[in-house]
Amino acid sequence: MEKSKISIRDLNLYFEKQHILKNVNIEIPENQVTVILGPSGCGKTTLMKTLNRLVDLHDNARFSGSILFEGIDILHPATDLVHIRQKMGLLSQRPTPLPMSIFGNVAYGLKLKGIRHKKNLAPLVEKYLREANLWEEVKDRLNDPAIRLSIGQQQRLCLARGLAVNPEIILADEPTSALDPISARIIENQFVELKKDYTIVLVTHVLRQARRIADYVVFMYLGDVVEQGPAEAFFNNPTQEKTKEYLGGAFN
């Protein structure tokens, strides 16, 4: 049995009266790719944003339960949000380059960590761009605006920026859905590469992608976790009817 990095216990979340996440219990294993599957609208994004408490931005959200991470409860009101957010890099559906240069984007994360001088920043920027498999493509134009990159490159830049705050977990919410297949594959391969050092939680509704890289799978439907387990077992011997239907393509 692997060590679990994050334990989600009895998580319930409401927007107004709408029950979005229903008694969710998940153990996210360390240094593996956990894939969260489910049809659109079932609460995957909400779950991800609960993990780093970005749900706090919605003043109509209420939640209960606990999310344990390194002995602290992420959902506790006194939790240091900066600390837990820097432990988790977030990749969203569309790339989100900040309005600055390529260098500036990665340095933005580093500066938030208190690293200031250009001479300290430069080697780290390179390091994280390499980790995101982008360095070779941008090393000669680090001062170009980030939006000049292709969408696929922008997403890898966002990955590099996320890695720059030195997280232990990467939260990726359908990170390849806006990308062309080749760029998507590059990101996928990067995840497989990165799981040696990071715990990865990946939301996707592309089944083939899930089959390619998942170690652990969570299947959600209308706010419930229907089934979860190691990828092998999940894909080959699903136990729930809903899962079988989903894997058979019933919801697509």
Binding site: L54, R85, G89, T96, L98, M100
Partner: protein, 302 residues
């Protein structure tokens, strides 16, 4: 077969007429500033021939009866009033727009919107009256004595205040629109890196909208420079280079509005006023060109 062809031909003719019509209209609009500029220029020709451009612009001797027309006092007054107006209004607009779009509730923003529209719709003569009733005495009997300065209150400073108030709805509206275009994702990306909300506003919101902010203030600048009635009512209209902001001034638009139609018996006075109008127009166009250049320049850099 034949009918299709005639139908086709008919459509083509119609198309041509419509597009010709549209082009003419667009052409007219494009021509308008040129026409205005040319007619102003032709009217100013007389005074330009008489005094020469540099004397007109930089001489501060204004003695129409003696045929001496130096616009420097008016230019300086205009620059001062505009500059003050913008300085006062900039922080108010920026901070309110940030507060309304980032911190305040949706309801507050919804309530503010009609208020801003009403403020924008108030005729400038009313701002002028209000300035005489409130701002002028406030400057003359309160602010100036506090600093040990003597003034009637009709001053550059009063003009700047009134202008600032008039600019608020105009600039605030644009800024709110601009800030609302920044996608939520971008904010979340910054926060998810552990940045505080204020840090995110400073680096992401303001960074992303910087060209827009420049253009908002550029447009405000053009407007402020040309604002006539309200400023004219509080600024004192004394032809002299103001030494401090408590002195009265005489901005270009006020000069034109106060004098056109009067004193036209003085030789070349008419032409001098036309030159003032031409100057005003040229400066406003320069502001516009500058803010456009700034937008393009900064958008490239992002």
């Amino acid at each position: 077969m034949a009918t299709t062809i005639t139908y086709y031909k008919l459509r083509k003719i119609k198309d041509r007429i419509v597009s010709g019509w549209v082009k003419t209209m667009v052409g007219l609009v494009l021509l308008l500033p040129v026409v205005i500029a040319i007619s102003l220029l032709s009217k100013s020709w007389l005074i330009l021939g008489h005094s020469g451009l540099s004397e007109l612009l930089f001489s501060s001797v204004w003695r129409p009866l003696a045929g001496e027309f130096g616009f420097w006092p008016f230019i300086i007054s205009s620059v001062w009033v505009t500059f003050l107006g913008l300085i006062f209004t900039a922080p108010i607009c920026l901070l309110s727009a940030i507060y309304l779009t980032q911190y305040g509730s949706k309801r507050l923003l919804g309530m503010m919107q009609p208020v801003i529209d009403i403020l924008a719709g108030i005729p400038s003569v009313i701002y002028g009256v209000w300035g005489i009733l409130l701002i002028v005495p406030a400057v003359g009997s309160f602010l100036a004595p506090l600093l040990g300065i003597e003034t009637s209150g009709f001053s550059i400073l009063a003009g700047g205040f009134v202008l600032a108030v008039m600019l608020i709805p105009f600039i605030l509206n644009i800024l709110i629109e601009i800030f609302r275009t920044v996608p939520r994702d971008l904010f979340e990306a910054s926060l998810s890196l552990g940045a505080s909300k204020w840090h995110t506003i400073k680096h992401v919101l303001l960074g992303k909208t910087f060209p827009g902010i420049i253009s908002a203030f550029g447009l405000g600048l053009s407007r402020a420079f040309g604002e006539t009635i309200a400023v004219l009512m509080v600024v004192g209209n004394v032809v002299a280079i103001p030494k401090t902001i408590f002195d009265p001034g005489y901005p270009l638009p006020a000069l034109i509005a106060n004098n056109y139609g009067e004193m036209l018996s003085i030789p070349m006075f008419d032409s001098a006023l036309m030159f003032a109008a031409l100057l005003l127009m040229a400066i406003v166009i320069l502001f516009n060109i500058f803010s456009r250049w700034a937008i393009i320049h900064f958008e490239k850099k992002q």
